[in-house]
Each structure stands twice: as structure tokens, then as C-alpha cells.
């Protein structure tokens, strides 16, 4: 019954949106042209291409280009989902027709789902129809039929691209109050999509079907992430609470500074209280610490695998064992100064922090994994040379254990900050959530991570 009611509300929104879109010639005419006209143009192109290539005995080239044209035929109508989504999300905000909807018993999720489905259905149907026309034309003209795998992959890619564009449009629309602003922000969607199509074209041309499956998995994960983000962002508070598009640096700095220093009602806490508060933040990092720990394990395993696949020549491996020369180990440098040892890890942390901010933590995590891949690689060389991995680990452990803890905390805090859009805190706006998480990262960096790295560097320089 509850599910029925949920669906009733969602379908009410969908039907209204579809009816509205069907009455807008600016949407209908281009979609019709792309569905009914464009496939025939691509058919014509494909036939010319096959004829031309066959004359020079390059049938293979033509055959590899045909699937790409199928992808293009599917993509063009799908790209309209972005236009519809921006119009339905930001356009409503701009025309002030969203507020009456928000005053109804609709839940945020029902409204979100209704609008997403409505933005997706017409372009996707047009895409499928266009692809059908294109394939039918090819079948009749040159007798070309796609393999079931290729057809499935193309359909999945087209669908996922549509979902990503719509989900991303929702995220963009939360950051602006005008369609003009949304169109400016749309380049953040269009540019990656253009790059993606180029990547898909390459994979199709080279017949990299396995690569396409990986791409589909990647796109599916991106779609899930963006939808999750959208469901958090698309709420009454964010939609009506943000009426301006300006950056307020003063307010941002104050919010961050209060989070960092613990300043409340104009008063700073004592150093001891600040430290207690900082340490009490650690348990909240459990989940992100787990993800970070998995990256360490994954990095070590990958490093080990690469070490086996691309082993060093035996004479280099032997150097590790015969001389015990730890300077060969990428993560160790016994002749280094204290400052170098201390700042080495700090550089890694800052790089992870910077790259992660723009990529929802993805590049940050990859950077974080690099040293562990290197360590895994080195340990594998030790093992291949007949040495004891355990001894090698013991050699690293006095300061390595402390570094591990410090990097784990920093990595977890950075990750939590970077993915805050996906799993936001309650009772705060998006900007507040972002700034609070940033303040927590720097607080832990100053209060816990840097002192630990200092201790590790001290041990590394004096004991090794």
C-alpha cells in the first residue's frame, strides 16, 4: 500500500512533466528530428563508408566504425535529457513553480524520482527508437547485424550516459537559481561526456569489448554516486535555502575557522579542551578508515602482483639481500634529513587532499595507494630473491607503524571530506557540511597526524 502510494505520487509528477515536455516544441522537434532523421543520415554515412573502405580492401575499418555510429545515433537524443533536466529542475526554481510543489505532502525522494524519470524517458525512448531505425537500415542496406554483446553494451552505455547527465544536472541545479547559471555549469557535464564518447569510440574501434564492460561498470558506479548525491542535495532546505549564487568568502572562512579552532560564541577553547574535542572526532572516521585500509591492502596486493609480473633482474633483487641496502627501498631513505622524512609524507597527504577535492575522493585514494603499491612491489622482489618478507617488514616497522596510523587517519579524514556530498551530515547545508568536513581534516592533521609524522621521522632518522 505504502509502495503503491509512493508510485502514485512519483507517476503523478512523471505524467505532468511528460505532458509539459510534449507541449514544448523546443524539446519535441529536435527529438523527433534526431529520432526520425538522424539515423537515416548515419545509415547513409555508414553505407558510403562501407562502399569506400571496401574499394580499398579496408572492410575491417568500416566494420569497426559502424558500431561507433550506432553509439552516436543513441547519444544525440540522450543528450536532450540534460536539457530537459536542467529545465525541469532549475527552470522550475526560476519560475517559482517549485515552491507550491514543496508545500504539498510529496517527499523529497518522490519529487526527485518523478523529475529524474520524466527527464530520462523521452530522450531514452527516442534513443532506442533511433538506434532501431539505424540498425534496420543497415540490415536492409548492407546486411550488417550487431552481435548481442555489442548491442547490449551500446544500450547500456546509452542508458547510463543519460542517467549520469540527468543525475549530474540535479547536482548542478542545486548550485544555481537560474537557467542561465545552469547552462554555464552544464559544461562540467558536457566536457567529460565528450571525452567519454571519444574513449568509447576508441574502445569500439579497437574492438575492446572487455574494456567496454569496465567502462560500463565505471559509469554505473558514477551514476549511483551521482544519484546518491542528488537525493541528498535535492531537498526543500537546499532548494529554497539558497537564493544567491555568490561566493561569501567571509562567511566561509568564519565557518571553517570555527570548525578548526572550536571557537564558540566568540570564545576559544583551552588547548586541552581543543585536543580532547579533536581526539573525539576519530571514532566518526570508522567507515572512511575502513575504505582507506582497504586501499592499503589493495595497494600491497597490486604491488605484489606487479612485482611478480614485472620482476627486477635477479642481480638487482640480490642487492636488497646481500647489502641490506635500504636506500633501494622507495619508502626508506636512511641518509635523509629529519625535515625530508617529516615532509615526505606530508606532501603525499596534501596531494591526496587536493586531488580528492575535485574528484569525490577518487584521485585522492589512488594517490594514497601509490606508496603501498610500491611497498608491495618491493616486498615481492625481496621474496623472489629468496629473502624474508617478515624481516623486511620488521625493518620498516618502528617508524612505519606510526606512519601507517598517521596516514590512515589523514587518508580517512580526507576521504570523509571528499565524499561529504554523497553522505552528508544532517541539519546543515551543503556548503556547511563541506566546510565542516574540511575543518575536521585540518584539525586532525594539525592535532594528530603531524605530531605522529614528526615522531616517525625522528625514529627513522635516528634509529635506522
Amino acid at each position: 500500500m505504502a509502495l503503491n502510494n509512493q508510485w502514485h505520487m512519483v507517476s503523478t509528477i512523471v505524467r505532468r512533466e511528460l505532458r509539459d515536455a510534449s507541449r514544448d516544441w523546443r524539446i519535441i522537434i529536435p527529438i523527433l528530428l534526431l529520432t526520425l532523421g538522424f539515423p537515416f543520415l548515419m545509415n547513409f554515412t555508414a553505407q558510403r563508408l562501407v562502399g569506400f573502405a571496401t574499394r580499398y580492401g579496408a572492410t575491417l575499418v568500416a566494420n569497426q566504425l559502424i558500431p561507433f555510429l550506432l553509439l552516436v545515433v543513441g547519444f544525440f537524443p540522450t543528450s536532450f535529457s540534460l536539457v530537459i533536466a536542467l529545465e525541469t529542475f532549475v527552470g522550475e526554481k526560476e519560475r517559482k513553480s517549485l515552491e507550491p510543489l514543496l508545500a504539498t505532502p510529496l517527499t523529497n525522494m518522490q519529487l526527485y524520482l518523478g523529475k529524474v524519470v520524466a527527464a530520462l524517458v523521452p530522450p531514452l525512448l527516442a534513443s532506442y527508437l533511433g538506434m532501431g531505425f539505424y540498425l534496420l537500415g543497415l540490415r536492409l542496406a548492407v546486411g550488417w547485424v550487431p552481435t548481442p554483446t555489442l548491442l547490449l553494451q551500446t544500450l547500456l552505455l546509452t542508458t547510463l550516459q543519460g542517467v549520469i547527465m540527468v543525475a549530474a544536472a540535479v547536482v548542478m541545479s542545486s548550485q544555481t537559481t537560474s537557467v542561465r547559471g545552469a547552462n554555464l555549469l552544464a559544461s562540467f557535464i558536457i566536457v567529460p561526456m565528450a571525452l567519454l564518447i571519444q574513449g568509447e569510440a576508441l574502445a569500439l574501434f579497437w574492438g575492446q569489448h572487455a574494456g567496454l564492460w569496465w567502462l560500463i561498470v565505471g559509469l554505473a558506479l558514477t551514476a549511483v554516486t551521482l544519484i546518491r548525491m542528488g537525493t541528498h542535495i535535492f531537498n526543500r532546505e537546499e532548494l529554497l535555502g539558497r537564493d544567491i549564487d555568490q561566493i561569501r568568502l567571509g562567511w566561509m572562512w568564519r565557518h571553517f575557522w570555527e570548525g578548526l579552532t572550536g571557537r564558540k560564541n566568540g570564545r576559544f577553547p583551552t588547548p586541552l579542551t581543543w585536543y580532547r574535542q579533536t581526539l573525539s572526532l576519530l571514532p566518526s572516521l570508522r567507515l572512511s578508515a575502513l575504505a582507506t585500509a582497504l586501499m592499503i591492502v589493495g595497494g600491497l596486493v597490486l604491488g605484489g602482483y606487479l612485482g611478480q609480473q614485472y620482476a627486477l633482474p635477479p642481480n638487482l633483487q640480490a642487492r636488497f639481500l646481500a647489502t641490506g641496502d635500504l636506500s633501494q627501498v622507495p619508502m626508506l631513505a636512511p641518509d635523509t634529513t629529519f625535515a625530508w622524512a617529516w615532509t615526505n609524507n606530508l606532501r603525499l597527504i596534501l596531494l591526496q587532499m587536493l586531488l580528492g577535492v575535485f574528484t569525490l575522493g577518487v584521485l585522492g585514494l589512488l594517490v594514497f595507494a601509490v606508496p603501498w603499491v610500491m611497498l608491495g612491489y618491493w616486498l615481492m622482489q625481496v621474496w623472489l630473491a629468496g629473502g624474508s618478507v617478515l624481516t623486511a617488514v620488521f625493518a620498516l616497522s618502528p617508524h612505519g607503524t606510526i606512519e601507517l596510523i598517521a596516514l590512515l587517519i589523514a587518508g580517512a579524514a580526507a576521504l570523509r571530506w571528499h565524499v561529504i556530498f554523497i553522505a552528508p551530515l544532517q541539519q546543515q547545508t551543503l556548503s556547511e557540511r563541506f566546510l565542516t568536513a574540511a575543518a575536521i581534516f585540518f584539525r586532525l592533521l594539525l592535532g594528530v597526524v603531524l605530531p605522529l609524522l614528526w615522531l616517525a621521522a625522528l625514529i627513522e632518522v635516528n634509529l635506522l
Binding site: 503523478t12 517559482k96 513553480s97 508545500a103 505532502p105 556547511e432
Partner: protein, 302 residues
């Protein structure tokens, strides 16, 4: 029916509303007055469970606006500052869409919609596209949308803005009818005459909080002093009113005086003057508009 205690709302460091207290019993109409940006719309949005308060609590029709937001939204009808209609839909399609969101059967919505269109002097117009309506008609459709599900509480933000005098009167009559029908109403308006004519109580909001609240009479008394009366006699006075009323001014045979309770004081005064042999030509209360009160409050506080 509508109760707010210490209600407040911060937007990323900007305080839109703070320490706002109000109580509107069932069947009463409270007018919220205040300059642009005073916090009226934010208050209404919080009471309508659209925005979540950052301080304080509020209950509407017995439901908490945070914990029972869905129930609150079911119980209220809201007219937003701009009607925000879907201009490609016809009036009836639009109402049926909203009726479905409130769980009304289409037939029932159609029946109510047609009746409300007639009530607001727009018979037959429900079949036309909303984009073809005048601004005033669009505002009326917004009000019809708010009334469609027969809510116990109405939150009306500028219901008569952009309307011609005839339409505005129709809407005011409808609001009066709703109030007489024991609906609880909050009305945000810049139209002071409208507020005075419709409201049981008035609250003046400035810089995010209520700075004056009460009936029109209470507000006038509190801010402009007791009612001022003009008494015209058949001859100049000679100290006959000493001790009876607070005389403000005497100009020949015209006397201006104040009294907190005219209904008691005036009969006594006339009786006294008659006994003294002084003839009363006229006695009128000097009209003091809500505008005076409003301007005084808005310019005075903070």
C-alpha cells in the same frame, strides 16, 4: 492551532528569523506585516514545513513542523508570493495535478475546482491554458490551489497582489469566508487596509522578529496612545471636564481628549455636560490608521 516558540532560521551565517513567538488560535486570522526582507516569507515557509527551523519549535494544527512535517503539509494550504503556475496546463489540469498530490479523486477535484472558479468570478475559465490568464487570474488560481483540499490552516503570502480592485475584493471576501468557516489563517501582506479589514490580530515583523503584536486597537493604543476624541460643544468650556478625561487640546468650543475606555467614559462625559447645561453638537473618534502604527513601529525599533 498555529504556535511558534523562539522560532529562528539561519542561512549559512545569515539570520533571517530569530526568537519569533506567535500563537494563532483556531478560526483566527493573523496578519504578518513588515518591510521586504523582514522574514515574513521565511516564517511562513517554516510554518509550512518547507524550511526547517534552526532554533525554536512550531506546531501547526497540532503537528510539529520538523518531526511531523508530512502531516503539517497535509493540513495546510499555501499560497506562495508568486503563484508559480505551470503555464502550459489548463486551469483544471493544474488543479487535478495538485488534487492527486493531496490524494483527492479526480472527480472530486473537478467538482471543487469548477465551484471555486465560479466563486472567484472565473466561470468556464478552467478550460483555458494558464498562460493565457491575467496576473490577477493567476493569483486567484494560486489561491484556489491552496483551498482545493479544504485545509484547516491557510498560509497566504500576498494573496491580492497584482489584482484589480474587483478581484482583490472577491479574494478578500473569500478569505473572510474562510475565517468565518473557522479556518486558521496567516496572511502576509503589505496592504495595511486589507490587514486591518481581515485580521483578528496583527504582528509586525522587522529584521527577523516580531516587534509588535495585538489587535488593531491594542496596537494603536500601545503605539499611538489612547483613542483621541473630538468633542464639539455649543459654547466654549470653562473647566467642566477637569478630572473626567485627559484633555489634549482646547480650541474655542472644540475639545480634543483621550480615553482608554470610550465606551464607559463618553456616556459619563455627555451626562456630565448635559447636567452642566452644555450642549453637545458632535463627538467623534479621530481616525488613526494602521499605517501610522506600522510606520511608527518600523521606524522606531532597532
Amino acid at each position: 492551532m498555529i504556535e511558534a516558540v523562539g522560532l529562528g532560521k539561519d542561512f549559512e551565517g545569515f539570520t533571517a528569523v530569530y526568537d519569533l513567538n506567535l500563537n494563532v488560535p483556531a478560526g483566527q486570522l493573523l496578519a504578518l506585516l513588515g518591510p521586504n526582507g523582514a522574514g515574513k516569507t521565511t516564517t511562513v515557509r517554516m510554518l509550512g514545513a518547507i524550511l526547517r527551523p534552526t532554533q525554536g519549535t512550531a506546531r501547526v494544527n497540532g503537528y510539529d513542523v520538523v518531526a511531523q512535517a508530512q502531516q503539517v503539509r497535509h493540513a495546510i494550504g499555501m499560497l506562495t508570493e508568486q503563484p508559480g503556475l505551470y503555464l502550459r496546463m489548463t486551469g483544471l489540469e493544474y488543479l487535478i495535478f495538485f488534487g492527486r498530490l493531496y490524494g483527492l479523486p479526480d472527480g472530486e477535484t473537478r467538482r471543487r475546482g469548477v465551484a471555486l472558479f465560479e466563486r472567484f468570478a472565473m466561470p468556464g475559465e478552467e478550460k483555458r491554458r494558464l498562460g493565457e490568464y491575467s496576473k490577477g487570474m493567476q493569483q486567484k488560481v494560486g489561491l484556489i490551489r491552496a483551498m482545493l483540499h479544504d485545509p484547516a490552516v491557510l498560509l497566504l503570502d500576498e494573496p491580492t497582489s497584482a489584482m484589480d480592485p474587483h478581484s482583490a475584493r472577491l479574494v478578500r471576501d473569500a478569505i473572510r469566508g474562510l475565517r468565518d468557516d473557522k479556518r486558521t489563517i496567516i496572511l502576509c501582506t503589505h496592504n495595511l487596509a486589507e490587514a486591518e479589514a481581515l485580521a483578528d490580530r496583527i504582528a509586525i515583523v522587522k529584521k527577523g522578529t516580531i516587534v509588535a503584536q495585538g489587535t488593531t486597537r491594542e496596537l494603536k493604543a500601545a503605539l499611538l496612545g489612547d483613542p483621541l476624541l473630538k468633542l464639539q460643544l455649543d459654547r466654549p468650556l470653562n473647566g467642566q471636564l477637569d478630572g473626567l478625561v485627559q484633555v489634549e487640546q482646547v480650541a474655542g468650543n472644540v475639545v480634543y481628549y483621550r480615553t482608554a475606555v470610550p465606551e464607559t467614559t463618553n456616556p459619563q462625559l455627555i451626562r456630565h455636560l448635559t447636567e452642566q447645561g452644555v450642549g453637545v453638537i458632535s463627538l467623534v473618534e479621530i481616525e488613526r490608521s494602521l499605517e501610522e502604527v506600522y510606520l511608527q513601529v518600523v521606524s522606531e525599533v532597532g
